[in-house]
């Protein structure tokens, strides 16, 4: 039995998805740990060196993978458990870390708990965040920042009749970025400027939970503060570099602070009885924000004249956000559950600004602008879950949802003839959706689930929003101790037509199959295959032309994606001394099978542009191998190699982002 227990722990580490090569998931040492006094301690550290060699577009590699070189504490784990559940200060300490030392993705989790008295949970994470630069991916901006997130939760008297919760979360993002500023007039080019990102969010939480008469009541108050203090600068000579644009930027300075707070309340009352259950929630957050912008630019306009421009904006915004839910469940029979849920959500966003612009041509202009966006949604849905026999069950559901959107503009919109300041609009729509499903279990290890949903939205917000849609889903799973097989088909069709001015259809089909087989404790294999198909067709209306912008209404936006994704992982153990894991994952979008981005014979330049982005064949693959050798009962030596290959068949808008990277590591894992 003990051997089986150890195997199960090991198997849990084996049957896993394709992964990053390190840290090593294999365990070493006794899972039972060492006894010290009244505590049991288990501990492990994996320390090693990670390396990477990148060929091709390093920026794209950093965006996708980002592992570098250097010494790392690849992973560590510490548990301290009191053996009788009556520790003096604590009964459990649990600390896990990954990637500390300079990996781009680092995390630490800590739990300290004393039975019946307190519980403390902490999560700390770091993500070295990178976006490729300006001139690739169609105008996106470079980011080279670090995001740090931490969450602390302290609970007094956990699971007691009265529980007190204290919490603190912090999210910071700092680092350099490259953004753009469009200067001197709205038809000029945008110039790249450097930005120093500095964002910080803090949230403090205080909550209570009380159990009385079979009810649980939760109240929570949050204090939430956010500030964004970016500084953008440029000094030098940056030319627009586009056709018919003589614009140049020589000096630029922008500060754009935004400080806001969002206090919030949450109240929740719920109970669970033999024949019924109730769950009611009400939340309110009242977000506010104050902002300013001071921007100064000097240079040359697109016609070649000297230009300077200063913009000053100040203002504030508010966003009260109310959400309520009331859910009632009935269990009239052991095999029947009926749940009805009503919800209301009211969001109002209102803000105003005072816009002042100075330039050497017009002098001074002051504009007061405000905008209001209100969204109110009321929804009711009912789910019925009925088990006819042990081997067959049904579920069904119906949702009715009504949404009202209100908007008030304090800006005349040139794109909409006849608009004026302070125009108000109200738009209402509703959705009816019905679901039906069946569950079968003809054999104990075999489950079959079939379900479908049909929805009708009378006035979708955007052309691509769900309007006339249906989904189908079928899943078959076979599970035994050593073998797991699963297959699924999912279909989502959305038809957004006919509309008065446009049409849009979207067909998404997913086929997947996966299997895990672990016939022996020294061998296991895990494989998955997916085919993800998407095709969309939407009408377009835009301005383009060789001789100047002309309204174009006869073109479509066609997008076809045919993704084949597969991975396989095989693990061998040799005489309990060595573990070898070999894995391979590939994701390949074959598009619609065309051999060139623009089909031969296309002479219309507008159609050529649209054709070039209709499909995006791409292969992304990553084989890996890892060897882990047990040197002693407490020490393992590990080494691994992982390759990343990214290859676009067509280079979007002329930019080649392909790369291949060889990465690896070697480490020692010490446990007791």
């Amino acid at each position: 039995m003990r051997a089986r227990f150890c195997f199960l722990i090991l198997a849990a580490g084996i049957l896993q998805a394709q992964q990053v090569v390190a840290p090593t998931p294999d365990a070493v040492g006794s899972p039972r740990g060492e006894n010290t006094g009244d505590y049991n301690i288990t501990n492990s550290f994996e320390t090693g060196y990670r390396w990477s060699i990148v060929n091709g577009d390093a920026g794209m590699y950093r965006s996708d993978v980002n592992y570098g070189n250097g010494l790392r504490l690849l992973g560590s784990s510490l548990t301290v458990d009191s053996r009788d559940g009556h520790g003096h200060y604590f009964d459990e300490i649990l600390l896990n870390t990954i990637g500390l030392g300079n990996d781009p993705y680092q995390a630490a989790t800590l739990r300290v708990r004393k039975n019946g008295l307190y519980e403390y949970d902490m999560t700390w994470r770091l993500d070295d965040f990178y976006n490729p630069g300006l001139d690739i991916s169609g105008g996106a901006h470079l980011m080279n920042t670090s995001r740090r997130i931490q969450d602390h939760d302290f609970t007094l008297f956990p699971n007691g009749a009265f529980q007190l919760d204290l919490g603190y979360s912090r999210n910071t993002q700092n680092g350099p970025a490259l953004t753009t500023a469009q200067e001197f007039d709205t038809r000029s080019s945008a110039f790249p400027v450097f930005e120093n990102v500095h964002r910080q969010w803090n949230e403090y939480r205080l909550g209570v939970r009380a159990n009385f008469a079979g009810f649980t009541f939760i109240a929570r108050h949050t204090w939430d503060y956010y500030k964004d203090d970016p500084v953008d600068t440029f000094s030098g000579q940056e030319v627009a570099g586009t056709q018919n644009d003589l614009g140049a930027l020589t000096q630029f300075q922008r500060t754009q602070p935004f400080h806001g707070s969002t206090p919030g309340w949450l109240g929740n009352l719920f109970t669970h009885r033999k024949l019924w259950a109730l769950n009611a929630r009400m939340t309110y957050t009242g977000g506010t924000g104050d902002f300013a912008l001071d921007e100064m630019a000097t240079g040359t306009s697109r016609f070649g004249a000297a230009a300077n421009r200063q913009i000053v904006v100040t203002g504030n915004g508010g966003r009260p956000n109310l959400a309520g839910d009331f859910s009632v469940s009935f269990f009239p029979k052991q095999n029947l559950t009926i749940v009805n849920n009503s919800s209301v959500h009211d969001l109002r966003i209102a803000g105003d600004n005072y816009y002042t612009e100075f330039d050497n041509g017009t002098g001074l202009a002051t504009t007061f602008a405000f905008e209001f966006l209100g969204v109110r949604t009321i929804a009711n849905d009912t789910d019925i879950n009925y088990r006819l026999k042990d081997w067959i069950g049904f579920f069904a559901g119906y949702t009715y949802s009504e949404r009202q959107i209100r908007q008030t503009d304090a800006s005349a919109l040139p794109s909409i003839p006849g608009t004026a300041f302070s125009d108000s609009y109200v738009s209402e729509n509703h959705l009816n959706a019905a679901r039906l499903g069946i569950r079968l279990r003809p054999l104990k290890p075999l489950t079959v689930t079939l379900e479908g949903e049909l929805g009708r939205n009378n006035k979708p917000l955007a052309p691509i929003s769900e309007d006339n849609y249906h989904t189908l889903n079928a899943r078959v799973q076979y599970r035994t101790r050593h073998l797991q097989l699963s297959t699924e088909y999912r279909q989502i069709y959305n038809l957004n037509a006919p509309l008065s001015l446009s049409y849009y259809t979207s067909h998404s089909r997913t086929y997947s199959g996966s299997g895990s087989w672990s016939p022996r404790d020294w061998f296991s294999i895990d494989a998955t295959y997916n085919k993800l198909h998407l095709d969309t067709l939407g009408s377009l209306e835009f301005f383009a032309g060789v001789l100047g912008p002309q309204l174009q209404t006869g073109y479509d936006s066609l997008y076809i994606s045919n993704i084949h994704a597969g991975d396989v992982g095989v693990r061998f153990a040799v005489s309990k001394r060595a573990d070898l894991y070999v894995g391979y994952s590939i994701t390949k979008d074959v598009g619609d099978g065309r051999s060139s981005a623009v089909p031969p014979g296309t002479t219309d330049p507008v159609q050529a542009l649209l054709s070039s982005v209709q499909t995006f064949p791409l292969t992304y693959q990553s084989p890996l191998a890892r060897l882990s050798i047990r040197i002693s009962p407490k020490v393992r030596w590990n080494a691994g190699y992982q390759f990343y290959g990214y290859g676009e068949l067509f280079h979007l808008l002329g930019y080649n982002q392909n790369y291949n990277a060889n990465t690896g590591y070697t480490s020692l894992l010490w446990s007791f």
Binding site: L8, I9, L15, P31, G85, H86, D91, T109, N115, G116, G138, G139, A140, H141, N159, T186, N268, H272, T285, G287, L293, G317, T337, S343, I349, A350, G351, E371, L373, V375, A379, D383, G393, R403, I405, Q407, S415, Y425, S427, L431, R439, G455, P460, L461, A462, E488, N496, L499, S502, S512, T528, T536, L540, F542, P549, Y559, D567, T587, L652, L653
Partner: protein, 306 residues
């Protein structure tokens, strides 16, 4: 010989527990450990051990019998799954859930378990949690979280293996950063019908905003689909073959598919079309976000230019 010793030990313990046995059928965890020593040996590390450590819980909420029910019949029959009143591997998903909710119903994160997609699909507690053989002590999961979820959601697994993805495989994130597998309140975006398993962050807002706080606002000029239909309008949440988790390889098709005068828009007149001054054949107009840098919302400019 080993079996004989076990029986002798069992009889001795049962003699001591005789009174309780006679009255309620509960025999106490000490009896169980006689045969199930492998489980008992590490059980003090299990969060459920608290029921034993407290010493004040009634028998029906203490130790092994707190979940498996009174052990008298099982002991008398000298084992066998069918003699365990609550043998989870023999129970229906509904019964498993009911048993676990006996204690866990008062947890806030399980308040919506009745309307969870998992519940409707017969995914019960022991489909994901392994009480006695969990490699992850924190939530007693049967596997590392992502592998557990990938076991059924193979299509999502493949999305996390695409070039642009949230860092779940790298260990920076977990599925539960965005999802609550036990069910959630109605979404406060889209039409409130779906998604049904995405947690609300920051009390009542879309999950993405917990990390991407700079997109939260409030902004004087909101990009309406961000607030009304949510981030998924333009982005895939798990992974994408396109940069920045976008739904299209280039920005301009993403923008133009909505900005074509169709739909309803917020003004009952369709979504605004592209400006007449923008010639799409000019490369600078093919990169919309080069100028419209504040596409998620701006305090300064109605067209999100700064």
């Amino acid at each position: 010989m080993r079996g004989f010793l076990r029986i002798v030990l069992l009889v001795s313990i049962l003699s001591a527990a005789g009174t309780v046995w006679a009255q309620t059928g509960y025999v106490g965890s000490n009896v169980c450990k006689t045969c199930h020593a492998d489980i008992w040996f590490n059980f003090y590390k299990n969060p459920h051990y608290r029921s034993i450590a407290s010493g004040s819980e009634p028998p029906e909420r203490t130790g092994c019998e707190g979940c498996h029910g009174p052990g008298k019949a099982h002991v008398e029959a000298r084992g066998g799954k069918s003699t365990i009143p609550h043998a989870f591997s023999l129970m229906t998903p509904r019964q498993v859930m009911e048993d676990c909710l006996t204690c866990h119903a008062s947890n806030f994160d399980k308040a919506n378990i009745r309307r969870s997609e998992h519940t409707l699909a017969d995914v019960a507690c022991n489909s994901c949690h392994s009480i006695h053989h969990s490699p992850t002590p924190k939530y007693l999961l049967a596997k590392v979280q992502k592998d557990l979820c990938y076991g059924c959601h193979a299509d999502i697994r493949s999305q996390f293996e695409m070039p642009s993805h949230h860092r779940v495989n790298e260990g920076f994130m977990n599925c539960t950063d965005c999802h609550n597998p036990h069910g959630v309140f109605a979404a406060t975006w889209r039409m409130a019908d779906r998604p049904r398993m995405v947690s609300q962050a920051l009390t009542n807002e879309e999950a993405c905003l917990k990390c991407h706080v700079d997109k939260r606002g409030p902004f004087v000029f909101e990009h309406p689909p961000v607030r009304i239909d949510g981030c998924e309008t333009c982005h895939y949440p798990h992974g994408s073959m396109n940069g920045r988790l976008l739904r299209r390889p280039v920005v301009f098709t993403l923008c133009l598919e909505c900005h074509n005068g169709g739909g309803n828009g917020t003004r009952n007149s369709g979504v605004d079309i592209q400006s007449a001054t923008h010639n799409l054949l000019d490369p600078k107009y093919q990169r919309c976000t080069t100028c419209h840098v504040r596409i998620h919302g701006s305090n300064i400019d109605v067209y999100f230019l700064r």
